[in-house]
Symmetry: C2
Subunit: 225 residues, 2 copies
DNA sequence: AGAATAGTGTCTCTGAGACAATATCAA
DNA sequence: TTGATATTGTCTCAGAGACACTATTCT
């Protein structure tokens, strides 16, 4: 028996909304392994770091996303022996899912602009390093599933938002159109999903009420895709 | 920067039903680390092994459970720096959830009877090695959640079962009583959840129809707890 | 006024849950 | 027959979805 020694990577499927379309952060690899290929942002755990800490650090370093306003959760771990043929050491990736609002600072936040926000449809076509295409697909499916039974949609939005914007998150992530009337009732009818601020926002038509995210984290009953 | 080197463990929350009560497999540790303490079954990945392969191997070695009839899925990964203070090397645990039918062979299957099936209520009280108490809680919550929207309940049963037995799985895992009439309709009304074999089983009262698991894996709409 | 967006009313249909009623066996 | 378990019937209520309608702004 030979006990395995491994390096641990924290990789991130970072999603945001830009112009009503779902985007994922991709980087061009600078390291020797898979050099120049497109990949998910991420990197190796350092001494004393947890996987979550490493994920937050890589998000800041590579994507320029600060922790506040980013919702991060563990996705799954990829440990197949042949997933990284470029190192002699086994590389185990603890993948994370990060949901972020596309705040203005985000775009220009990083000193070297390593990360690019790519529309997911395009990212799915593009060849990615290692098994990152699989991780991306799993992350997208998790994000889609979570909208059904959790209040994570608000993570894609700034602190204050209108009902149309919230509905826009669902429509962008699921790729469907939702009835504004029924969506409105559903959200309002779920205690703690959103809180009315009393403010209004004026645009092309009738002004919209402005909401903030509430305390609730679970949707019961869920919203069906 | 110091890149981390780690050992990878595959640990397993193995659940089964015995006498209408949910049990989890626990082992008394023989290794030097946490010697003599109660722990979840599991062990280190060997060269060339994936996490899933290691989990299946440990299930066979420590619990005497052969792969067929066991449903295994990845649960989460535990990588905190202080989760294992007994080794100098970082130990990262890829935890798995295993659901098994309590077949007769299971009980006496292993040469050394290392593993014990412990009622979950009791296991939750017992001090466990490392962070295994946390992993156990997470595994239980996952198992409970999965029954809502997936057909995993059949994994707790032999290939042929009655509707009462299937209902018993839900009642044991959720710790609630369900209306037999409504449960029956709900299951029958979900295409592919179960398939009638045409056989009957006789017990104390009216004979029950015998079913087999169907092709479906998801329940839509879900069964609510 | 007309277009655009926000939000309400209302109807229908499905499914969950409570619970009564019937079916079929063992003892 | 009685008791136990299985299965079907029936009623009510909540919520999803379709869609007509009203409200309030901009151009």
């Amino acid at each position: 028996m030979t006990r395995l020694t491994a390096w641990i990577a924290a990789d991130i499927v970072a999603l945001t909304l830009r112009g009503g379309e779902l985007h994922v952060a991709l980087v061009r690899r600078k390291a020797a392994a898979a050099h120049g290929q497109w990949a998910l942002p991420g990197g190796f755990l350092l001494d004393g770091e947890s996987a979550e800490q490493a994920a937050y650090r890589e998000l800041a370093e590579e994507v320029g996303l600060r922790g506040d306003g980013v919702r991060l959760e563990q996705l799954a771990t990829y440990a197949a022996p042949d997933r990284d043929t470029e190192h002699r050491t086994r590389v185990v990736s603890v993948a994370h899912l990060a949901l972020a609002a596309n705040l203005p600072e985000t775009v220009a936040g990083t000193d070297a602009d390593e990360a690019h926000w790519v529309p997911v449809a395009e990212a799915l076509e593009r060849p990615l390093a290692f098994d990152h295409a699989t991780i991306l697909r799993d992350g997208l499916e998790r994000a889609r599933a979570k909208l059904e039974y959790a209040t994570t949609a608000t993570a894609f939005l700034p602190p204050e938002f209108t009902m149309s914007e919230l509905r826009g998150v669902y429509e962008a992530v699921w790729g469907v159109r939702l009835d504004p009337a029924n969506f409105n009732r559903k959200v309002i009818g779920t205690p703690g999903f959103v809180v009315e601020t009393g403010q209004q926002r004026r645009g092309r038509g009738r002004p919209a009420s402005v909401y903030r995210a509430g305390d609730a984290t679970r949707l019961n009953p869920p919203i069906t895709r």
